[in-house]
């Protein structure tokens, strides 16, 4: 089975929005990590990860998102997630991601939360 995962990036001022499409598994998480790494290397330390196009995640993919959170924490930046299904939001809550990342319903709310 081929996981056709993609991530697109756009910038809004000092905030970059990474929008995912597909299953956030190991390969999907790595793609998000690569895109985030490029942004961080360019000095962008405020990230929004929009998961509206991802209705399924697994804990391996999320563990890679945790690595991104750690990098952003080290840089004293900020990160927010939006567009999550109720189950993905519940999963993030169970894992405690809300202690280190903002959770928002809409992309605009997520941008405002970390601006």
């Amino acid at each position: 089975m081929i996981n056709q995962f993609s991530v697109s990036v756009r910038q809004e001022g000092d905030v970059a929005v990474l929008s995912t499409d597909g299953y956030v598994n190991h390969a999907g998480g790595e793609k998000v990590s690569e895109a985030a790494g490029e942004l961080i290397s360019k000095g962008v330390h405020k990230l929004v990860i929009n998961l509206e196009g991802s209705t399924v995640v697994n804990s391996i993919g999320i563990s890679i998102l945790i690595e991104i959170i750690e990098k952003i924490q080290d840089l004293e930046g900020a990160i927010a997630f939006c567009g999550m299904t109720r189950t993905i939001a519940k999963t993030f809550t169970i894992m405690g991601l809300g202690q280190f990342a903002r959770m928002a319903d809409s992309e605009q709310d997520a941008i405002l939360a970390i601006r």
């Binding site: 209705t55 945790i66 999963t91 405690g96 280190f100």
Partner: protein, 152 residues
């Protein structure tokens, strides 16, 4: 639970065997979705069963070291709940030896191992979870009640 022609009140079962292959857990979720629809589960309940099943499959894929390279899944449909049994014939594991993951340690405490969330997620997304594990393999039984409010 919907009544179909020729069905009885006895629990109905669906069995699925998947090879240990990348993303094959997604195939299992398609069956889970179909049987949960049959039980009239709502979208959120279905989603929770799917995500718990993904984690159970991934655990079996990664840790069982099974020689037959397969994971056996059984869905038992009853009027009250959906039971999903995930079985492998691998090496088993010591449940007491599985550390509870801590997000603080993983983000701030510099714990390099970011993973280890599977069992916690399964237990949180389902209404009950039972694990039997030994040298003959592992059997994880998880139940989702039809009536909402049972899950934590």
């Amino acid at each position: 639970m919907k009544q179909r022609p020729g069905t009885s009140d006895l629990p109905q079962e669906v069995e699925l065997t998947i090879p240990i292959m990348e993303n094959m857990e997604v195939t299992a979720t398609q069956t889970a979705e179909a049987v949960a629809h049959f039980l009239d589960f709502d979208t959120e309940q279905i989603d929770e069963v799917k995500h718990a099943l993904i984690e159970a499959c991934i655990n079996a894929f990664e840790h069982s070291q099974t020689e037959d390279n397969k994971v056996y899944i059984r869905f038992v449909l009853s009027p009250a709940d959906l039971t999903v049994v995930i079985r492998d014939f691998g090496q088993g594991f010591d449940q007491a030896g599985v550390p509870k993951p801590d997000i603080h340690a993983k983000v701030v405490g510099k714990d390099d191992y970011k993973r280890g969330w599977g069992l916690m997620l399964i237990e949180s997304l389902m209404d009950s979870v039972d694990i039997l594990s030994g040298p003959q393999g592992t059997q994880l039984t998880m139940i989702k009640l039809r009536q909402k409010g049972g899950s934590r």
